[in-house]
Symmetry: C2
Subunit: 281 residues, 2 copies
């Protein structure tokens, strides 16, 4: 049954078909489809499609979904092998070929052919780089929340800010995505009473980056962890945020507010401001 483009767009199945994990294509597909705010999509990832048998299974599943849905599915593909790719393309779907669409103009530009090797983006093929990411994750974990100050000097960046302002998830994201060794050290009421940075931070001023947050949001976050505590009270949150910002301003520490930002946005800004962009690709 031919599918009419004017059919209701309100439920489409989206397949991500890859010879590797398909994670890159999946994230990319989500970004593109986020441009269609009124449509609803059901996402199915078909990873590790690296043989003609698996390609035939994938095509059958896409065809079956087309019949069940009454609409042809949207397929984001990163299949590199031409035969496997051709086999999946036999299915009835809107087929969007993420790799070959861009590989061809780049081949022309560079005057060389691509290697058509499969599933390269999330393998450990670049062992040193992968090992660097794992080491960074271990570093960020062991240097979370002011632990292991003796080895703080090995950090690429040290995030500072009041408890629960977003330091830990940002540190882990920087490590996992970029292999950045990100430590984090809390600014606590003791520091505000002394009106000074924790002494462990003083040798590493150039690596410091501050995070702050609206007191109202901080109170919400802290209340989830310790309901109705003094720690979570709006009054305490207001005090700590104001003191932390005063301290960071006086010490010349760059900082940003995390209130409405995702860990990806915070991490991007940290890398830009601290001059680490380019070192970690």
């Amino acid at each position: 049954m031919p599918v009419n483009a004017s059919d209701s767009p309100y439920l489409r199945t989206v397949f991500v078909v890859s010879d590797g994990t398909g994670i890159t294509a999946e994230t990319f597909g989500h970004s593109v489809l986020a441009q269609f705010e009124d449509a609803r999509f059901r996402h199915i990832r078909l990873p590790f499609i690296d043989s003609l048998e698996k390609a035939a299974d994938a095509a059958a599943r896409i065809d079956q979904t087309c019949l069940t849905d009454g609409h042809r599915p949207i397929v984001f593909s990163t299949l590199v092998n031409p035969e496997i790719n051709q086999r999946v393309r036999q299915a009835n779907a809107l087929f969007l070929d993420l790799f070959s669409t861009f590989v061809e103009p780049i081949e022309q530009e560079l005057g060389v052919k691509s290697s058509h090797s499969i599933g390269r983006s999330h393998t450990v093929s670049n062992a040193a780089k992968y090992q660097g990411r794992i080491e960074a994750i271990n570093f960020s974990l062991s240097h979370d929340d002011g632990q292991f100050v003796k080895t703080l000097g090995q950090a690429d960046v040290i995030l500072v800010g009041v408890s629960r302002c977003g330091k830990t998830p940002t540190s882990l994201y920087l490590a996992m995505q970029y292999g950045v060794k990100a430590a984090n050290v809390p600014l606590i009421p003791d520091d505000f009473e002394r009106d000074a940075l924790p002494s462990s931070l003083l040798p590493y001023r150039s690596k410091l980056f501050g995070l702050t947050i609206q007191p109202e949001r901080l109170a919400e976050v802290r209340n989830e962890r310790r309901p109705d505590s003094r720690y979570a009270s709006l009054e305490q949150c207001r005090y700590e945020v104001a003191e932390a910002e005063k301290l960071m301003r006086r010490e010349g520490i760059r900082w940003l507010s995390t209130t409405t930002k995702s860990i990806e946005e915070i991490s991007t800004t940290v890398l830009q401001k601290i001059g680490l962009e380019g070192r970690f690709y």
Copy 2:
């Protein structure tokens, strides 16, 4: 100066230009360029290009790089705003427009126009989903290495395996990328002597997934942490891995070897095997 496609491909600058973080485009660009094994690329990400002024700065930087390199750069763009996009396109570069290339065929397929809204992929616009990721990160951190067994029942998946086989980075990746609450519990010599799973795991059999590793690789990893210890000896690693695999086989726990796999590949397989695919998109 026109650039000849037959020029040496061995050093090209790649810009990722985005109105958001550009992380999705950057990861995608890396995947595509990994198909060109002999070429070397220098990557520069230009995030948050959300005004005509910033677009003009980006175009100037691309033009300057073209002059310095003697080759026109490759530009991966996810700029959604047509005017900003047009401004950057005035630069001398191979311009690859990741979004509009695919948005147009999807518009035709669905019979609707896209919303052209910017930077949607890494914002907190889907607050509930974003909050779920942050909660999952906190859960995975607090349930790392067998901690907090009382709340293990809230886990979506519980990874088991010998010390240093890859449980922690995989748990964190599952939480960060998919919002999966991933706990992990080590299998230790005590368990092998009793020849039984830790009792804390018994109520949650259906959530268990095992990781294993080649003893030789395990000895390397452990030696980095505790050089020349009994813990890191090949003999001890061989004993623990053999016992852990025996235990998992007898208990019917699904497992995979992490030896040559990335955390993305391990996570993809865990989600497939444990039937969580589709719940976390």
